[in-house]
Symmetry: C2
Subunit: 531 residues, 2 copies
């Protein structure tokens, strides 16, 4: 039955606008799926603000998670998975422990791949369990959400958004195998946009550019390896053949954890919002940490954390690190949950957790030793603290290269570094003022923005909820195939026309020449006859 | 002499940061060059805000301008030009009058080109006069500006920025011959980004895509026609060979008067800031207009303006328009300075000027008759007023197509339209509620933004002044030539490697086969011998 308003059309329009504004004021309904690991930390802050603005938030998560915990800001709906918390933590620990284990490049590569397979498989099983959980799916179908918020790296959220016919907001730093560029139709010329994990910067020589293109070619297989299981699952669940790319292309807005102080300038599409530094909102430093910092005297402190995922380091390495930390006069706050190294110097305080961003914000903080995760690196930039980076995995190598190439920190190879290397690097970033000046310049540029990334993220989530998506930001490129997009059909047609024209012109010329010659020939013949 | 601070390095850094903050608080120094015509209106507002924020602004302009007038917000430095105000106004009038004159397509094209040549020539002479004015140039050299703000369509500002070695901010809707894409290194695939003046939308059929590519090809010649005189002038002035493209590539930030409710979604570079709707800030409606609007009764008003440049319309056309305006019950406010049509109906009030945006904002405004300039169209969208568009020139046809394709207005051909056409179109946009609904939807999307475009413009001008440019937003693509950018060298190399590999493999196979065959042959021979 159509809704009929017994008013003049103009009054009806005004009423509808008012109703939509009121429905916004009453808050929207947001579904959050497939966000865990370090992206959860900034998601949590975002959800807190959305909750305070009156929106209703439901987070769907497996019973076993890495960081996701219940909160008063959202309703948590959990579903069972066929593994325990210990098994999951063990897998994650094993994965990160691997980064410290030596071996030839090939040995390490295959070991890493094996561990990665275990992690991605458990993510896939988690997704399978969700989609097969009839009770939760029925609940979601009945709940009438306004939008879905998800980390697209695990495309479970994308499948659900399609099933529920609701618009989605993605929150990511990038996608495996460059699928984000394809899904957003964002041009990404390999000539100056370095591919992840290549160690390339934006200025590349010939061989680096060749490496970049080869990575693009290998992505065709990598994408298949990573996403094929999800395609099968999605096709079964949605009861029609779909590809993951097809699903990702439907995203309304991509909130991307990068921007152009750390990351290299590159094209963006209108629905790609750069939010690098979203995790830099400050809170009050807890009293116990304030006391430690204040007690550090004129030398101040060094903050040291290899991220929430690394719980233990091989003892030999840990002792080398401890040895190096003892060589600086600063108090070192080291987030570490493994076995305490017996040579732990007096100036090092081990803690199970530390308020990283708030410690970095303290004016007494002199340096930051980090694994180079994008969250940590942005916190280093926000707070203008020079860094010593020990990358372990993923985009951490690339982040480290970016910081180092800007003279704002130094990078160490976690496998090869000696105690002296660590000590030298740490002393350099603390005492050589160029590191502080460079990170200060980056920080000034980064913080000089018209709006805080967290507010920008809130705006776009609300925008998608209010307007049921953002179709006006969807480029028409999505409707073209590869040949059409690159205008190859038009170029071939125009070339054919030009060639045809040249051919006909040539034929005409030859025909004219022949006629002239034959006329001349006849003339000379007739002349010779008359003579 | 180097500046030496007698402090600890860390104290020095803090002091330097403090000093830079203080210098900002004391205000920067902005030079404004080559902004006239309709872009001046929004520039003026922007300069007003910058002035109130404590910045010093100097506008350099010829003694004869279209709209630029002295103001308390800036110091105006003028220089003489070899033509009078009457001559300039006459040229502009003749140019716009031409739009109403009939003739075959070719006749109109050549007439328009002739008039356009006169206008661009006078702009070029203006630039020449500025660069040859030793007194002003010396003053500018001595004034030590922090940044230069200019409309890059006339590249006089770009030449000056290069000479003065100061960063520049461009304010434009686009550039002739697609030079903006080239200068920003922004990808602009012709397969879904319609070229100006083609009448194409973002969804094109094969022939429209072919037309788009042919326009790209013709741009090579058009750019030459338009910018070659400036290249000669710039090379002489800067005393080295430069191209206009080379100068434009140095812009720190491009403030672009478009966004994606009116314009089609397309890639953007990090230093391209979309500011469509920058001109929609409301002021109080003057009392005389308030009175007219209030007296219009339940039917409300229609706002009619063909822009500040059209002063008169041929009498026959004016009478047809007047006739049509009489057919609606609304009061029509018509901005018109030409001879009053004798058949002017009672509901039409001719005015020499009207506060267009503030009138459109009035809830009693039912429709907007406009020539489709981007300023006017954005004001129509901001205020959700359905439009009847009579495009005259330039991007107005494209703007009209965009509004019409979104069902938010109707377009009329200014040469062919009859009194009935105008009346029908006007009645349709007023009475058919779909137009109001569509423009309301566009308006809701357009106004739902995290920050007002005017504030965004202020932020970026200040950013460039504070940081002496924005080099971190400059893509590395600027350092590549055409072959490198498109990776053609790498692709050729990889192809060569693959072909070489195939060739060697084939040769090896053939060699092996031959050896096998010859062995067999020898064997069979030796066999036959033994037999």
């Amino acid at each position: 039955m159509a809704l009929v308003f017994p008013f003049h059309p103009r009054v009806t329009v005004t009423l509808l606008v008012l109703l939509s504004v009121l429905s916004l004021a009453a808050g929207g309904k947001l579904l959050v799926v497939s966000v865990d690991g370090s992206p959860w930390f900034s998601t949590q802050e975002l959800l807190g603000i959305l909750r305070r603005k009156g929106h209703e938030i439901v987070v769907v998560a497996p019973e076993v998670t890495l960081h996701l915990k219940p909160s008063e800001n959202f309703a948590l709906k959990t579903y069972p998975v066929p593994f325990t918390q210990d098994e999951m933590d063990g897998n994650a620990r094993a994965f990160f422990k691997d980064a410290f284990e030596e071996g030839s490049f090939l040995e390490r590569f295959f070991r890493l791949q094996e561990k990665l397979k275990i992690l991605t498989e458990s993510a896939f099983i988690t997704c399978e369990q969700l989609l097969n959980n009839k009770e939760i799916i029925r609940y979601l179908e009945e709940s009438k959400f306004d939008a879905l918020f998800t980390d697209p790296v695990f495309p479970c959220g994308a499948i659900l958004a399609e099933h529920l016919s609701i618009p989605s907001v993605y929150f990511a730093r990038g996608m495996p195998c460059g699928l984000d560029s394809e899904a957003t139709q964002c041009p990404s010329p390999p000539s100056y946009i370095p591919r992840p994990f290549t160690g390339n910067a934006d200025r590349m020589n010939f061989l680096q550019r060749a490496k970049n293109i080869l990575v693009d070619a290998s992505n065709l297989f990598l994408c298949n390896f990573f996403f094929q299981p999800y395609e099968k699952l999605a096709s079964e669940f949605l009861q029609r053949d779909v590809t993951v790319l097809e699903l990702l292309r439907k995203a309304s807005v991509w909130l991307l954890r990068y921007e152009f102080v750390l990351d290299y300038p590159r094209p963006m599409m209108p629905n790609m919002i750069a939010l690098g530094g979203i995790n830099c909102a400050h809170k009050q430093l807890p009293q116990e940490f304030e006391a430690i910092v204040n007690a550090s005297g004129e030398h101040g402190i060094v903050v040291f954390s290899l991220g929430s995922m690394v719980s233990e380091i091989p003892m030999k390495k840990a002792m080398e690190i401890a040895d190096a930390l003892g060589s600086v006069p600063q108090t070192v706050l080291w987030r570490y949950t493994g076995e305490v190294p017996p040579n732990l110097p007096k100036n090092v305080k081990l803690v199970k957790w530390l308020p990283q961003n708030d410690l970095l914000a303290h004016p007494k903080t002199r340096a930051f030793i980090t694994h180079g995760g994008s969250h940590g690196v942005y916190e280093g930039i926000c707070n203008a603290v020079p860094m010593v980076i020990m990358p372990l995995f993923g985009d951490q190598m690339d982040n480290a290269k970016r910081v180092e190439s800007r003279g704002a920190g130094l990078t160490l190879n976690i496998l090869e570094m000696t105690s002296k290397d660590i000590s030298d690097a740490l002393k350099a970033v603390i005492n050589d003022k160029k590191y502080k000046e460079n990170i200060q310049r980056l920080s000034d540029l980064h913080l000089d923005r018209p709006i805080h990334p967290l507010d920008l993220a809130v705006h776009w989530v609300e925008f998608v909820m209010r307007h049921k998506g953002a179709p006006h930001l969807r480029p028409a490129a999505h409707d073209l195939n590869w040949i059409q997009y690159h205008s190859l059909d038009v170029i071939a047609f125009l070339l054919a026309v030009v060639l045809l024209f040249l051919f006909i012109s040539l034929k005409c010329c030859m025909f004219c020449c022949r006629r002239c010659c034959s006329k001349k020939g006849r003339k000379s013949k007739s002349k010779s006859k008359t003579h």
